[in-house]
Symmetry: C2
Subunit: 239 residues, 2 copies
DNA sequence: CAGTGGTCTAGACCACTGA
DNA sequence: CAGTGGTCTAGACCACTGA
């Protein structure tokens, strides 16, 4: 049994999706909907507010509620956990550690995401470089810096076959994250580790995570082009 | 003056972000919050429900409300309008049309997003190929198929200097969209149009949009690597 | 089986803003 | 200045689920 506000919400959503209500059209006012569904105003308000929260409807005082003109803005991006994704394809996942170093991390060389216009990790930190592998084949090159101020206990962790990312997710959940997505050619070192040609196109994910105000980690992952991609969605789930 | 439910919401959010409430911790029950804030249950419910909707809090009956363990899943991806973005940098935007063709669009060659495991556009369609330019320099190569069944009036539109994407956004807003992001090397034709070397790394956005059940357009945009990137976010806005 | 959240009511006063 | 949404109250009954 779905709730009444959920039913009102999906009724209106269907009318929009079906083309019955076009972008720019005005929705019935709350009083009208109360009458139609025989319910209180809080209930219709909850239904339409939910539609407004997802961007499908725009509410304006005095004027009414309108079907919004969707923009390409604010799609929902799915960034799956690499180990999970590989295992979901019935392949064997492994992280191979190439380099590990404790450093003050002031050299910008250690900062895998300096393209962000935000402060780098300061203070002592752990640098890890490694390769994500599926069925023994490398598919992503990862360079990561972890703040030892925020996560001192990571110094005792081993990162093979588990990745530092998985370890962090288990031990130090973050509350905020920023990801930058771009494309670049693999440099010589990356190409060697990934067994591809230098300059071969790769997808780059550069991510920083925080716990409150405290910076946890910055990571740059290089995926072999065309063997990896990301998906983003707007609107109701499509089969 | 912010509303009370908004204040309760941000109070709790700050306690989570500040580390006062850690992931897995239990929030005060609604009755407790009603008492603390001297308000009705609907108000605290609205505040905590909002936190639950953004994924920061998880609610369980009988057990209570808990600070969630954030996953890398479901970040919000910002896909800006190209023309707007270029003009925002005080550059001149222009779309240069290279090719235009009306076709039955059954050849998979016309389907710029065949990597999606979903049905291609069927029936008559318009194919456009062009280049997005900033200050006279090309930065993105675009191949697009528009359904003439869904948008017959597009046959009369001109696409230079306005892009078919802008035209569509003005005339036929969509309700659902799917975007796939990958990296690839430019082929010869693309490289020539973008004035780059064949094989140079590029970021690829392949997008399909629908209006309800009806397929509107499929587009594949190739951005010159490192000169373009996308951003995604999770958590509260960071300055 | 008792504690917790899910939902809903029937009001109320107010803030904004477009006609 | 009147119509619309924004917010809030003080209740109520219920569904779920963990102790």
């Amino acid at each position: 049994m779905t709730s009444l506000h959920e039913r009102i919400r999906s009724d209106i959503e269907n009318r929009i999706m079906g083309g019955d209500l076009a972008p720019g059209d005005r929705l019935p006012i709350e009083a009208k909907l109360m009458e139609q569904y025989g319910c209180s105003r809080m209930t219709v308000n909850k239904a339409i507010s939910a539609l407004a929260a997802t961007g499908l409807v725009e509410r304006r005082r005095k004027a009414g509620s309108f079907v919004a003109r969707p923009q390409a803005h604010a799609m929902v991006l799915d960034i799956p956990d690499l180990a999970e994704e590989v295992r979901g394809r019935d392949q064997e996942y492994r992280f191979r550690l190439i380099h590990r170093e404790t450093a003050p991390a002031e050299a910008s060389d250690l900062q895998p995401t300096h393209q962000f216009g935000i402060a780098p990790i300061t203070g002592p930190s752990l640098l890890t470089i490694g390769v994500h592998m599926a069925d023994g084949r490398p598919f992503a090159y990862e360079r990561r810096v972890v703040s030892l101020t925020a996560v001192p206990e990571i110094e005792d962790a081993a990162f093979d076959p588990e990745s530092p990312g998985s370890w962090l997710l288990q031990h130090v959940p973050w509350t905020e994250a920023e990801t930058n997505i771009s494309a670049t050619g693999a440099n010589e070192r990356e190409a060697r580790s990934l067994k591809i040609t230098p300059g071969a196109p790769c997808l780059v994910l550069a991510r920083r995570t925080w716990r409150g105000e405290e910076h946890i980690t910055a990571v740059r992952q290089l995926f072999i082009g065309e063997s990896y991609s990301l998906d983003a969605r707007f609107g109701s789930a499509r089969k």
